[in-house]
């Protein structure tokens, strides 16, 4: 069984079907991109995986544990987090009135009760992720790029096995995108973290970073494959890219 297994996922908001039966699986140590135009259901799937939304139908299994499924009490978000599922938010949610260090400490406290350990570990992560000079700044004083990085750092601090990165590149300039891609690769190579990236239109990421791509449109999976396969897939091109990319 795959590391993350989503089977027949349906999510309805009242009469609106946001996700209409999606299957997807992610192997450990993969970097998978979930792409699709605005409203395709990327964020909704992420919210279902980490338990923020109750699902309507289907099963989600992570690392052999059923997170939610028929005839089972769905796990709560914090329980899912404890199993090793981290996430960042599309609309960044740094804890604004806390310093960068304190933001990351909230994460490192997941594995320790000691103030000192939490701080040292947080300082290590902040340095690793390149936020060292901003350690004592308030989170709200950071640039967008800094905030996105901080979100990743805070999630990384909980020692996740898999991280759901929702639009972690959106709004960044090309240099910052490069840095973020490097970060995601290093997270996998150094810490063995599997990454699932929700990406709307930063194509460079999709092409250069992902080992595999899953394409969503209107809450359905319309294609899946390697970057090369996706870029040449006429269904994807018509539904999403609009015209062939060269």
């Amino acid at each position: 069984m795959a590391f993350l297994e989503v089977k027949g996922l349906v999510k309805k908001f009242g009469g609106l079907t946001a996700i209409g039966g999606v299957d997807l699986s992610v192997e450990e140590h993969e970097i998978v991109s979930v792409i699709g135009p605005n409203g395709a259901g990327k964020t909704t799937i992420f919210n279902c995986i980490c338990g923020l939304f109750p699902i309507t139908e289907g099963t989600i299994i992570f690392n052999g544990t059923v997170l939610t499924g028929p005839n089972k009490r769905p796990l709560k978000t914090h329980e899912i987090a404890k199993l090793g599922v981290g996430r960042t938010f599309q609309i960044v949610k740094p804890l604004k009135e806390l310093s960068v260090l304190e933001n990351v400490m909230v994460g490192t406290f997941a594995n320790t009760d000691s103030m000192r350990d939490a701080r040292h570990e947080a300082e290590r992560i902040i340095k690793w992720i390149g936020l060292g000079p901003w350690k004592d700044k308030l989170a709200r004083e950071l640039t967008l790029s800094g905030r996105k990085r901080l979100e990743v750092a805070r999630s990384l601090a909980t020692k996740p096995r898999m991280i759901l990165l929702d639009e972690v590149m959106a709004g960044l300039n090309p240099t910052e995108v490069e840095e973020m891609m490097d970060l995601i690769r290093r997270m996998r190579d150094e810490f063995g973290i599997t990454a699932v990236c929700g990406v709307e239109h930063v194509m460079r990421v999709v092409m250069n970073l992902s080992t595999r791509i899953i394409v969503l449109n209107y809450g359905k999976k319309i294609a899946e494959g390697t970057p090369k396969e996706i870029i040449d897939n006429p269904i994807v091109i018509s539904a999403y890219l609009g015209e062939p990319m060269n």
Binding site: H78, E97, L98, L101, M105, A110, M115
Partner: protein, 354 residues
């Protein structure tokens, strides 16, 4: 300005803070002895005001643990105050047991009820939680009025003050035959010091970090693995127990309780104001707020209910001009002054002369 600063300089500053706090507490502890020496019997009315100020600081501090750190605005904290007061009052009036027991039972009952309330209301977020706290306080208020055989209904309970003294007699070696409020003052001071220490401990520990994370964003907190409900319940129970403890003390001190004094809606608002005006989410803000507002309240005693109006105006002013409360405002002012001085000295000589 971060909540906590680390490093050697911050450690040294914190150590100075401990020493300063210890000196202040010591000074407050010997204050009544001086007062009795100077004012004689008249010291009792000064002491009553001081006790009000100290308990107000304690109430603000207790509320702040839930409202300030965790950002869960309770407008019904008087319920716990009243529960503590009634638990303690009933023990004295019906069973005639020692007042000390009330200080133990009051918080226990407050904590248990808080657990039940939190269990139900923490399914609700934001304004819905706040509304439910008002409703619950109202229910308890009405219960105290209707359960007349137990609670004495609207007129409440009263007893001979000698029954609810913590000392069988005041320590005569110190004050002579003057029956006084000094022991009460010490107990009030001890309770508030305990409340502040607990608040400080929480702020500088994992729980404090988790509560602030919850205040900032509950979804984010959950995705980091924080059990929001459990953390909020913990904060509520600690907060409620401290408030109940102060309620229990107050009952012993007054020798009488009634729904309109210990369960009255405006008391809830008062507690909130101590924290908001002083500086929510900080350790010292609610203490400052409690002390100052009690003084303002005392000065406004002549105008009766109209003091609520003054509180209201103060609240609006603070929210508009000092979002961080008095403490936050003072810190900003201090920071501005120090940077201005730094700027002045950094300016080139020519500019300074010009």
């Amino acid at each position: 300005m971060a909540y906590m600063e680390f490093g050697p300089a911050a450690r040294a500053r914190r150590r100075r803070g401990y020493v300063l706090s210890a000196i202040i507490v010591f000074a407050l502890a010997v204050l009544p002895i001086v007062l009795v020496e100077v004012q004689g019997r008249r010291a009792n009315s000064t002491l009553a005001l001081l006790i009000s100020m100290i308990t107000a600081a304690g109430l603000g501090t207790a509320w702040n643990i839930l409202g300030g750190y965790a950002g869960q605005l309770s407008l019904g904290h008087v319920a716990f105050y009243g529960l503590g007061a009634y638990a303690s009052g009933l023990l004295i009036e019906k069973l005639g047991v020692t007042s000390w027991l009330g200080l133990l039972v009051g918080p226990l009952i407050g904590g248990l009820v808080a657990l039940g309330i939190g269990w139900i209301t923490f399914r609700l977020r934001g304004p819905y939680f706040t509304l439910s706290t008002i409703a619950i306080a109202e229910i308890i208020f009405l219960l105290s009025k209707t359960l007349e055989p137990i609670t004495g209904g609207s007129s409440g309970l009263s007893w001979d003050l000698n029954q609810s003294r913590f000392w069988p007699r005041d320590p005569q070696w110190l004050f002579g035959p003057t029956p006084g409020r000094v022991p009460y003052y010490w107990i009030a001071l001890a309770i508030t010091v305990i409340a502040v220490i607990i608040s400080w401990k929480i702020a500088h520990n994992k729980l404090g970090f988790y509560l602030r994370a919850i205040r900032e964003d509950q979804d984010t907190a959950a995705t980091i693995g924080i059990n929001n409900t459990r953390m909020k319940l913990t904060a509520l129970v600690i907060s409620a127990m401290l408030v109940a403890l102060i309620g229990a003390f107050r009952a012993n001190f007054e020798g009488a309780i009634a729904p309109d004094t210990v369960l009255v809606r405006s008391k809830s608002l008062e507690i909130v104001l101590f924290a908001i005006i002083g500086g929510m989410g900080t350790v010292w803000g609610p203490v400052i707020g409690g002390v100052l507002l009690t003084l303002v309240g005392e000065a406004l005693r002549g105008i009766g209910e109209a003091n609520q109006l003054v509180y209201g105006v103060l609240l609006v002013l603070v929210i508009f001009f000092l979002p961080g409360g008095l403490l936050g405002g003072a810190k900003t002012l201090l920071a501005r002054l120090t940077t201005r001085r730094a700027n002045q000295t950094n300016q080139p000589a020519a500019l300074r002369e010009a």
